[in-house]
């Protein structure tokens, strides 16, 4: 067996050497005005050679190693158990979500300001991921331009506050509705495209929105972005050190407590929390309503769904619009958290990360998506010590997750009967 693998192992080791040695082994450096080539440090070269040897060894004894791994006891304690009753499972899931929400509610009062701020960002991503989950996870429409709706929400608030002095609370529904309108307008023509064509068109749409925001300098400030976006107020009370708007009072003076910057951060966090809970609940209800079932039916088998009398356009459009609506929601919160937005916050990578959250979480599953959003946002922060390698690890983790656990952290399960085919 080892002899059989020898050729292949040698080949793999060669490939490892070829793909790593030229790039890692030589450094192009600008020395003054010339580009020179210097050899890398000896440790790097030893590393490259070592990697090839490991690949060689692994491929050579591959069957033995895989066999040994296979006989190891499963670490997953749940593996042997029968899948839970669907009704119990649903109950358990809602209980976990409730516990999470309660935990989230008390979280800001226990930890530092930086953590609360980060948690707000996590909540924004949860909203975005839940929204995209409707489009991708439930309706099965591959949307790579989701950040466009996010941008529409953020810019709506920024522009309204700049030109019309409209406050956060009024801008929130307007931003979300406008994003939904964009979703509707974009969705209408592109929904007859299938699968990957839809993906590239949405990607193109996302880029177009970003470029237009960047070029329309007179209105959107172009690359300068829009600054001075007001913070949300609580019944006319502001959280800043000084009151910025006529007629408002400041929070700390009203209650006669010392000013603390944390109030604002915590307030913003609580708003984000409430909105995230609303998002989750609305989508949860929608999932059980006929329209939610229709999304899934269309995802599973378009032709069958249409023969049962579902209107393809209406169902797809509703998914697209609702997804966009929640992106607009998240965008408004993002704009008021940042206080300043510019087109560079809405690049394709943002869409890719949200999509990664949805897929990592297990498409369609709300709890999974929430957990994945927490993981994806917080892990890079924790990995700051490896800041240089952060994105490298992120990319590798995406690939490894897809290879090892493609169904995501918590895959969504529906009641289904499996017919065993005869081999």
């Amino acid at each position: 067996m080892v002899a059989q693998n020898f050729g292949h192992a040698l080949f793999c080791a060669m490939i490892t050497l070829i793909i790593s040695f030229p790039i890692l082994g030589f450094n192009l450096e600008a020395q003054g005005i010339n580009v020179t080539l210097t050899g890398a440090k000896t440790t790097t070269i030893i590393g490259v050679v070592l990697a090839s040897i490991i690949v060689f060894g692994f491929q050579l004894f591959r069957d033995a190693i895989m066999g040994a791994l296979g006989t190891l006891p499963r670490f997953n304690p749940l593996a042997g158990r029968e899948p839970m009753e669907p009704s119990r499972r649903v109950k358990l899931e809602s209980r976990i979500i409730t516990v999470l929400v309660v935990l989230f509610l008390f979280w800001p009062f226990m930890v530092s300001r930086g953590s609360v701020d980060l948690a707000t960002l996590v909540l924004i991503y949860i909203m975005l991921a839940l929204g995209l989950n409707v489009v991708v996870g439930l309706a099965g429409l591959l949307d790579l331009g989701y950040e466009a709706f996010y941008a529409v929400g953020a810019y709506t608030f920024a522009l309204l506050s700049r030109y019309f002095d409209i406050s956060f609370w009024l801008a929130l529904p307007i931003g979300a509705l406008l994003a939904a309108l964009f979703g509707l307008v974009l969705g209408f023509p592109v929904l007859r495209l299938r699968g990957d064509y839809l993906a590239i068109v949405t990607l193109g749409f996302g880029e177009i929105i970003r470029i237009l925001l960047n070029n329309w300098t007179n209105v959107t400030g172009g690359p300068n972005g829009i600054g001075g976006i007001p913070d949300p107020t609580l019944f006319g009370m502001e959280f800043g050190r000084r009151v910025k708007e006529e007629g408002n009072t400041s929070f700390h003076e009203t209650f006669g407590i010392a000013y603390s910057g944390e109030h604002k951060v915590i307030f913003l966090y609580l708003i984000a929390l409430v909105l995230a809970v609303i998002t989750a609940m609305v989508i949860r209800r929608l999932m059980r309503m006929p329209v939610g079932r229709a999304w899934e039916a269309l995802r599973e088998d378009e032709i069958a769904a249409r023969s049962l009398g579902l209107s393809r356009t209406a169902v797809k459009l509703s998914a697209f619009t609702i997804g966009a609506f929640f992106a607009g929601f998240a965008g408004t919160v993002f704009a008021s958290k940042q206080g300043f937005i510019s087109p560079e916050s809405f690049v394709f990578l943002e869409s890719a990360i949200i999509l990664a959250i949805v897929v990592l979480g297990g498409m369609g599953s709300q709890l999974g998506v929430i957990l994945a959003a927490i993981a994806v946002t917080i892990l890079p922060e924790l990995a700051r010590e490896f800041s240089e390698y952060r994105m490298l690890i992120f990319g590798a983790a995406m690939v490894l997750m897809m290879v090892w656990r493609p169904q995501g952290l918590l895959p969504m399960r529906r009641i289904h009967i499996k017919l065993n085919r005869l081999e």
């Binding site: 300001r113 980060l118 070029n215 300068n224 600054g227 010392a258 937005i341």
Partner: protein
């Protein structure tokens, strides 16, 4: 002059400062926030090495008020979103003085938080006028503005009596800001701006743009942006036999442009702050950088050094680490730094920041050109 609100806030900050001081005894934390990773990390390196050196040297001579300065470093990747996170963490860590950020688009959202939370900020690199336009108390810089640099370039161009000038920019805050300032000044002087156009940053193919410049028959082209794109434009223009002189801001004036443009970089005009590393009185400092194996010639090394110095001097002047008092002191005082004497106006901008026009050569050297106007 002081309003009651100011008094309250000062008192509150003092209280906050006392509690913070309790946590970090006998040390003054200086935050350095900028990109350590990401596409502009090379500029971040300049910022960090300059600020670290200043902190080191100040500590060697006994620190500030008898206390040692401690550098706390943060990576914002030049991403506005991360900059806000960094700013919050910085406030969290009880840091009261920040050298940063680097990119204007990061500095702007971060400065909102610093102003609210009473953190004094000195940016050594952000040149966007908007940052200091908002009447903030605690925001300073040790670098000139786009609106200072643009007119210098435009006046020089005007003195050359050009027939047609084209202005190209990279559609980013920095590039477009300067390009607009150049255009406005040129138009005021009655010089025809034949073209005002944006390109996409990160793009590599400029053949269409160059064809257009050829068609428009311009004799001068001003480019607002950074060196990677201008290097390619110069090189591709030479390939296409475009006969025009190019000019750019300090973002294009580093040796990397030579590795990209090669021969085509000869004759490029660049507005730069006077090369501080060439100055007689800085030679000792320059040697200290060289001994550490660091390159002091980058545009933001000494501005970062000066930023730390200004903060330290301000603290000494008022004998307190209250950022509001230090800010007052900065507005009143005048400070000797490697980048010259620094005095602040009301907004927190430098009273004056000199820019000089240089001619760039294909071997990476530069010579100042004689300016007839200004």
């Amino acid at each position: 002059m002081r309003t009651p609100v100011r008094k309250i806030t000062t008192a509150v900050t003092a209280a906050a400062a006392l509690t913070a001081a309790g946590q970090a005894c006998a040390e003054i934390q200086i935050g350095i926030a900028g990109p350590m990773t990401g596409p502009v990390a090379q500029y971040g390196d300049m910022q960090f090495s300059g600020a670290r050196m200043a902190i080191e040297q100040i500590n060697e001579t006994g620190g500030v008020l008898g206390e040692q300065l401690v550098a706390v470093e943060y990576d914002d990747v030049c991403d506005p979103k991360q900059a806000v996170t960094v700013a919050n963490r910085l406030v969290n860590d009880g840091v009261q003085f920040v050298v940063g950020h680097l990119c204007s688009s990061s500095t702007q959202p971060a400065s909102d938080i610093y102003e609210d939370e009473g953190v004094l900020m000195v940016t050594p690199a952000s040149t966007s006028p908007e940052i200091t336009e908002r009447g903030y108390e605690l925001v300073f810089r040790t670098i000139g503005l786009d609106s200072m640099q643009g007119p210098v370039a435009a006046n020089y161009l005007a003195s050359l009596k050009p027939e047609k000038v084209a202005i190209v920019h990279d559609k980013q805050q920095y590039g477009e800001g300067i390009a607009t300032a150049v255009r406005d000044t040129l138009q005021k002087q009655g010089i025809e701006v034949a073209m005002f156009e944006g390109i996409t940053a990160g793009d590599k193919d400029f053949s269409s743009l160059i064809t257009k410049l050829k068609q428009a028959n311009v004799d001068y082209v001003y480019y607002g942006g950074y060196h990677p794109e201008l290097g390619l434009i110069l090189r591709q223009a030479r390939q296409a036999d475009l006969d025009a002189t190019f000019m750019g801001p300090e973002g294009v004036g580093n040796k990397d442009i030579n590795t990209i443009a090669g021969e085509a970089a000869e004759g490029l005009l660049v507005t730069l702050p006077p090369s501080f590393d060439q100055k007689e009185e800085n030679q000792e400092l320059i040697k200290a950088f060289r001994d550490k194996g660091e390159d002091p010639s980058g545009p933001f090394v000494l501005t970062s050094y000066a930023a730390v110095q200004v903060i330290a001097r301000g603290i000494e002047m008022v004998d307190s680490t209250n950022p509001f008092e230090v800010a007052d002191a900065l507005r009143k005082g005048s400070f000797e730094t490697p980048i010259g004497t620094i005095e602040y106006d009301k907004t927190g901008d430098l009273e004056s920041f000199e820019f000089v026009v240089y001619e760039w050569h294909s071997d990476g050297s530069k010579t100042p050109v004689n300016q007839s106007s200004r």
